[in-house]
């Protein structure tokens, strides 16, 4: 018997378009599956078709589209109730077992068919032309089939059982949809499990499981090894399959053939009451109410409809399921906010909002996709459409009412999420709620996004006139738009919805991002409005469902007011669109990705020959900077003194202006006269021929004026260095001398495609040209520095050097800085509204030394860790000047800048420090490493390793700069706190090392020859230096460093003074070897020269 039902189910489904649509959808998506799932993550050595990649991709796609399973499985029994044939069905002599089994197996077969789309799609995806053959292993169909059976099948069975049972028991489609959310919530909750083993067992999509079981694998193993079947993966699959069986058994027990659900006894009773006396109704006079069709009544209708459709969803239990899931998820899951090396930040509102946005997006999308379908179909599902359609109500007002109602639903979820955010903050003892950040985070960032996609969803549902197909198309739209952005077609005028709003910063709020964002959003909302109007015009009204006939009939639907509205919206849309175009493409230039690539190629081809031509070096910088934060402009005027340090005459000087359109080089002049060669004008690269050649040792003064002018706004991300509050830029924005390697095309594959030679990231230690450079394209070996900065009257502007004078003129603040000693040509200009903390430090045993001014400039609410930073400044200065060499400047400043970048960076005597790290960390001295202290110490160490000693721009450079700073900071941490804290820190570094190693796609270099692999020079560097000092003693290491600095100090090093090259790791290791006893010499090889991976 069950077989007949099974066969019927298959026959029924095989005639339905949805079955094939689902298959096609999964198939098409899976072709780009690997690329989509692993988009943006470094795959390292892992091949794109290695077992683990296939397993993760299949797991993720299955998870993402579990919702399709709910659409297939859920309707299986529900269908009988929807089409009202349940009474016929359930009175036939079929047994419950046969009915359920037949239906389940039938639907499950269809589900499997649809999901083989993943299998076939992924196989085909391997042969897509965009893959680099080097990233792939030989094709192995069995591997795909095996993975499908192992990864997808069990969870699919679970999902199928769950959805089938809920569909049969609840008899409510929306409940079925929301099951997808439950599975997702379970997945999110597994992330909160701290025990890795259990997390691996419970993760429904086995993403963490595969990570867990391959934890100890090398990159090569990960690339080739099959996943071990036995162990956690099997348990995981058995666990979920067993849950599926339990769900089925439960469903079987609970399901019965009654047509009426036995509940609500109270209401059935009251129904009985109604058959009482039929009062004679003829004497009741029906009052004649006035009918209104004017604008005011339209407005009233809109309000009533909005409320009606809103409450329709609001009262549903499934909606509250979503709300509660959304609220719970942050309370359980969000324990890591703004984490820096294992230390969490205070739960500031913007962190909470970002976390909430991330976790709840899926919920909102579910609401959007399904409820838009439900709303458009509401009357027809209830079979009330004919009554509605025969009333004089306007299609547009009704649709708009549904639209507003759904948006109100989003608002409710948002309010609930805010509530849970506030609860979360309160539980953490954080009471600075900042409601405006909540409000803008949700209503300014998410709501417009949802509102826009809801327009699309309504439009699609209205046109397609097939609910499931509509839902699929809406999802396709989401994905297509993301893909459009990924391919670089992201101009705000055609990238649907425009770019996202830039990050919120305590210092700068939404800064200059807000205005263009709002303008672009209104442009798109007008577009959305047009979509809605079109939807209303072609919406099914009456019995005609043919799209062409609806299109033909739509012209009769345009009422006068609607026509006026449409014209108005169109005009506004065009006006705002033109305004945006004027800003992004006339006032500013829009570069597509390919244009930018072409430019880089041309730049390299034309100018590469100039890379190492003899050029003078900057020896003196004297500038007057005028910052206008309120308009985001600046001017820089003054001079460089250039000196010919070469042994030949220099007749022409090559100047590169910053390649940014806002920046103009208004004037440039060389003393003694010159002519300009503008051949490379399009690269903003000018060659100035001097009237009199610059003799070796001679100097020439170069006057220039540069300005930065903000004109309107740009498409996408704009400059985040020049801000209303928190300007931070450095001298690489000013004119530089000669070829700039940084403008070259970097991506190795792209270079190959365009026929460019392989780019050497970092030169060999024997490269004579780069040994003379301390950084890429270095145009100086040290400068004298003087600068006057003017800024707005509420801001403080900072640059390196002693503050000679400070004054106010024209309602602006002016600061005059001069560095009394030579310094490296690396300086930052910073300006913001600041609170300050100032102290002094003096080394205790030197009574004649001048005290050093310690200053921290911070945002007014970020007082949490100022004392820790101040402490770090003192402890570091004391340790470094005692053990390495004296501190060279008269001041040391830390200045906070907005969190658009997440780093701290050392400049001579000044350390700009991002608000994202350190300032808002919630440090518990019991269990955390004081990272505010540590990062400060690290940056101060750069005053030695970077400012006192510079390293040649060859392999191993960053070991000298960063590894030594890591070492120095660890020693200060050890001295100030304890050895245990250092060990705890080392643990975080081991994690970082492992993460970095997994992503590495080349072989791991040694510390001595490291290029730009931060997991080596930061993480492995710290680990190895710790081991090194453990082996030979801290004092011995410090002695070596002391000697190294003495010999290689840029301004007065004993060896440095006799050579024009900078130090390399070869030099550094010589000092290490000197202090290492004979029997331990091998550890230097082990730690620094060999590539021995760290055992974890």
């Amino acid at each position: 018997m069950w077989y007949t039902i099974f066969k019927f189910e298959l026959q029924y489904r095989s005639k339905r378009a949805d079955t094939y649509v689902f298959f096609l959808f999964l198939f098409l998506f899976s072709i780009v599956g690997v690329d989509f799932i692993f988009q943006g993550s470094e795959m390292g050595l892992m091949k794109k078709n290695s077992p683990i990649v296939i397993a993760k991709t299949m797991g993720a796609i299955t998870g993402l589209f579990m919702i399709l399973a709910s659409m297939i499985m859920g309707v299986s029994v529900l269908r009988d109730f929807e089409y009202n044939i349940e009474s016929l069905m359930f009175t036939t002599p079929i047994h419950k077992k046969d009915y359920l089994l037949g239906r389940f197996l039938g639907a499950f077969t269809v589900l499997l068919f649809a999901f083989t789309g993943i299998l076939i799609g992924m196989m085909l995806g391997e042969f897509m032309p965009w893959h680099n053959p080097e990233d792939l292993m030989a094709f192995n169909a069995m591997l795909y089939i095996k993975t499908f059976l192992l990864i997808t099948l069990p969870i699919l069975f679970f999902g199928a059982s769950l959805f089938f049972v809920t569909g049969a028991l609840s008899r409510n489609l929306v409940v079925v949809y929301t099951q997808g959310i439950i599975v997702f919530v379970i997945f999110m909750l597994t992330k909160a499990i701290s025990n890795e083993f259990w997390q691996a067992i419970i993760d429904p999509f086995s993403l963490t499981t595969t990570t867990f079981i391959t934890k100890s694998w090398s990159a090569l193993e990960k690339s080739t090894q099959d996943l071990p079947l036995f162990g956690p993966l099997l348990y995981n699959k058995l666990f979920w399959a067993a849950l599926g069986v339990i769900a089925l058994i439960y469903g079987y027990k609970k399901f019965n053939f009654n047509v009426v659900k036995e509940k609500r006894s109270k209401k059935t009773k009251s129904q009985l009451v109604t058959h009482k006396t039929a009062t004679d109704a003829s004497d009741i006079i029906i009052p004649k109410a006035n009918k209104h069709y004017g604008l005011l009544s339209k407005w009233n209708q809109l309000k009533q409809f909005t409320w009606f459709y809103f409450t329709g969803i609001f009262k549903q239990a499934s909606f509250w399921g979503i709300v509660i899931c959304g609220m719970i998820i942050i309370l359980i899951n969000s324990v890591n906010l703004g984490t820096v090396y294992g230390v969490d930040s205070y739960p500031a509102t913007y962190f909470i909002v970002e976390e909430l946005k991330e976790t709840s997006m899926y919920f909102f999308i579910i609401l959007l996709v399904f409820y838009s379908g439900e709303l458009v179909w509401k009357e027809r599902s209830a079979k009330l459409d004919l009554i509605y359609d025969a009333t004089p109500m306007s299609n547009f007002i009704k649709l708009l009412g549904k639209y507003m109602g759904l948006n109100l639903i989003y608002v409710v979820l948002m309010l609930a999420l805010m509530g849970s955010g506030i609860i979360f903050q309160t539980l953490r003892g954080y009471y600075n709620y900042e409601f405006q950040v909540y409000v803008s985070g949700f209503f300014l960032e998410i709501l417009p996004f949802l509102a826009l996609y809801t327009c699309i969803a309504f439009f699609i549902q209205s046109v397609v006139n097939h609910k499931f197909l509509g839902i699929m198309l809406v999802i396709v739209c989401f994905i297509a738009n993301i893909a459009l952005g990924l391919f670089g077609y992201n101009h705000d005028l055609y990238f649907f919805g425009g770019s996202a709003l830039g990050a919120y910063s305590d210092m700068n709020g939404y800064g200059h991002f807000l205005k263009p964002y709002l303008i672009i959003k209104s442009y798109w909302l007008l577009f959305g409005m047009l979509l809605l109007i079109m939807s209303a015009l072609v919406n099914v009204r009456g019995t005609e469902t043919n799209l062409l006939k609806r299109l033909k009939a739509s012209k009769y639907r345009v009422s006068k007011p609607l026509f006026k509205l449409t014209v108005m919206v169109c005009l506004l849309f065009i006006t705002i669109g033109s305004f945006i175009f004027y800003n992004t493409n006339v006032l500013n230039t829009y570069w597509t990705n390919s244009e930018a690539t072409d430019f880089r190629i041309a730049y390299e081809k034309a100018l590469k020959p100039f890379e190492y031509i003899p050029q003078p070096k900057i020896v003196d910088v004297n500038l007057q900077v005028e910052l206008y934060p309120e308009t985001r402009d600046y001017t820089v005027e003054g001079y460089y003194i250039l000196k010919n340090n070469t042994k030949e005459d220099i007749t022409s000087i090559h100047i590169q202006k910053l390649l940014e359109e806002n920046v103009t080089l208004d004037a440039i002049a060389f003393e003694g006269g010159f002519t300009t060669n503008s051949k490379y004008k399009k690269f903003e690269y000018s060659i100035f021929n001097l009237n009199t050649a610059l003799q070796p040792g001679d100097v020439v003064k170069m006057h220039f004026k540069q300005s930065f002018t903000t004109r309107g706004f740009e498409s996408g991300n704009s400059n985040v260095n020049i801000n209303y509050n928190g300007t931070f830029f450095n001298n690489s924005d000013l004119p530089t001398i000669g070829y700039n390697k940084k403008y070259e095309l970097n991506d190795a594959d792209e270079r190959k495609d365009y026929g460019l030679p392989v780019r050497i990231q970092t030169a060999n230690r024997a490269d004579l040209n780069e040994l003379k450079n301390a950084r890429n394209g270095s145009d100086s070996d040290g400068i004298n520095f003087e600068m006057i900065i003017g800024t707005s009257n509420n801001q403080t502007a900072l640059a390196p050097g002693s503050l000679l004078r400070k004054w106010t003129a024209n309602n602006r603040n002016y600061f005059h800085y001069k560095m009394k000693k030579p310094m490296i040509n690396f300086y930052a200009i910073v300006s913001a509204e600041y609170e300050t903390q100032k102290e002094q430090w003096k080394i205790c045993y030197d009574s004649v030394a001048k005290p050093v001014d310690l200053e921290i400039y911070y945002h007014k609410t970020h007082q949490y860790n100022i004392d820790r930073m101040m402490m770090a400044m003192k402890a570091s200065l004391t340790y470094f000047s005692t053990n390495f060499s004296p501190y060279q400047y008269e001041q040391l400043r830390i200045m906070e800048f907005p969190r658009y970048a997440k780093f701290a960076q050392s400049f001579p005597g000044t350390i700009p420090f991002s608000e994202a790290i350190g300032f808002v960390l919630d440090i518990d001295d019991e269990k955390d490493v004081d990272m505010a202290f540590y990062v400060t110490a690290h940056e101060i160490a750069h005053q030695w390793f970077g400012m006192q000693v510079e390293a040649a721009n060859v392999k191993g450079r960053l070991t000298i700069l960063e590894t030594l700073s890591q070492y120095a900071a660890m020693m200060v941490l050890k001295q100030h706190y304890s050895e245990e804290k250092v060990l705890q820190f080392i643990e975080t570094q081991k994690e970082e090392y492992k993460k970095g190693k997994d992503k590495e796609d080349a072989t791991e270099p040694s510390l001595a020859l490291v290029e730009n692999q931060d997991y080596i020079y930061y993480a492995k560097g710290a680990i190895n230096m710790y081991e090194f000092q453990k082996a030979i003693g801290e004092e011995q290491v410090n002695k070596a460093l002391q000697r190294f600095i003495e010999d290689w100090n840029t301004t007065n090093g004993k060896l440095k003074m006799n050579t024009d090259r900078y130090a390399t790791t070869q030099d550094l290791l010589r000092y290490f070897k000197e202090v290492t006893p004979k029997n331990l010499q091998h550890i230097i090889v082990n730690l620094f020269e060999s590539v021995k991976p760290i055992t974890l």
Binding site: A289, S297, Q304, L386, P392, K549
Partner: protein
């Protein structure tokens, strides 16, 4: 204000000719539209109710060109479709209120009075707070008429409203309807002949998309006066009788076929003259048109 239908035709995509040159003049009062299942009644009603396009022809209500000025018609239209559902989880009061807004009754006070009066009128007042899910067929139908009356319609279309109702509910329903006939065009489609006899001042019979008869019930009956004869026969004889007489209907009476025939003269042969019922008219017309087709 009369509803005038002129040469209305509609052919579905599958070739079914649902309406063929239908022309009717429907004055104020109750108008009965009779016809068997699938005769085109619902298509005609939906077309008048602006829910369906016609291929050709013309409909007007007073100054309103129904096929073009749909919204103007909807403002004076009350429509109760043959089949409709209700949102299960809201109450009659809320839904009726919602429909009132749909129909442009946006003044809150007026709307409240109106909804209340209609709930009284349809005897739903006591259950107005109850979820519509629990409504019986009769209550649902009464709710349907309540919503149709919200905008004080000039044209009221009710499509087979009494199907599935018990006699008590049916009477109650007709009581409400009959009051309206005084100033409204009410079109009542049905295949229950008695409904028309009891309620309607005018009627038409349509079959296979064509009007086969129109007029006042009493006049129509007059045409059949002294022409309908009845006889109870044996089952085996039925075929022979059908060949020899104009058998317009056959019914079982105590298990034996009773046939009605149409004859201008007394056929004798055990036939007895009966008072023609409207049903006989109906069957006679259906008999004629269907036969005409098959020849």
């Amino acid at each position: 204000m009369d509803l005038i239908i002129n040469n209305l035709s509609k052919t579905y995509a599958n070739g079914v000719k649902a309406l063929q040159n239908i022309s009717l003049e429907i004055p104020t009062g109750m108008f009965g539209l009779l016809g068997p299942n699938g005769a085109g009644k619902s298509t005609l009603m939906r077309t008048i109710a602006t829910l369906q396009e016609a291929d050709s022809g013309h409909i007007s209500l007073g100054d309103i060109d129904v096929l073009k000025q749909k919204n103007e018609l909807r403002q004076v239209l009350g429509y109760l479709p043959q089949q409709f559902g209700l949102y299960p989880k809201i109450s009659a009061e809320v839904l009726l209120n919602h429909f009132a807004v749909l129909k442009g009754i946006t003044n809150k006070g007026e709307r409240k009075d109106l909804v209340e009066a209609l709930l009284h009128k349809t005897n739903l007042y006591d259950v107005k707070k109850q979820n519509l899910k629990g409504y019986s067929g009769g209550m649902k139908q009464r709710f349907g008429i309540a919503q149709a009356l919200l905008n004080n319609p000039k044209l009221l279309i009710v499509d087979e409203p009494t199907a599935g109702l018990d006699p008590v509910e049916r009477n109650r329903f007709y009581n409400v309807l009959s009051e309206l006939g005084e100033q409204t065009v009410v079109i009542l489609s049905t295949h229950i002949v008695d409904d028309v006899k009891e309620l309607c001042t005018n009627m038409a019979i349509i079959n296979q998309g064509q009007v086969c008869l129109k007029g006042k019930p009493l006049q129509i009956l007059e045409n059949l006066k002294d022409r309908v004869y009845k006889k109870t026969i044996e089952k085996s004889e039925l075929k022979a009788y059908k060949q020899n007489y104009n058998v317009i209907s056959e019914k079982l009476f105590l298990g034996k076929p009773t046939i009605h025939i149409l004859s201008d003269a007394n056929p004798g042969d055990g036939f007895s003259l009966i008072n023609a019922q409207l049903e006989d008219v109906y069957f006679a017309e259906i008999f004629n048109t269907t036969n005409a087709k098959s020849i």
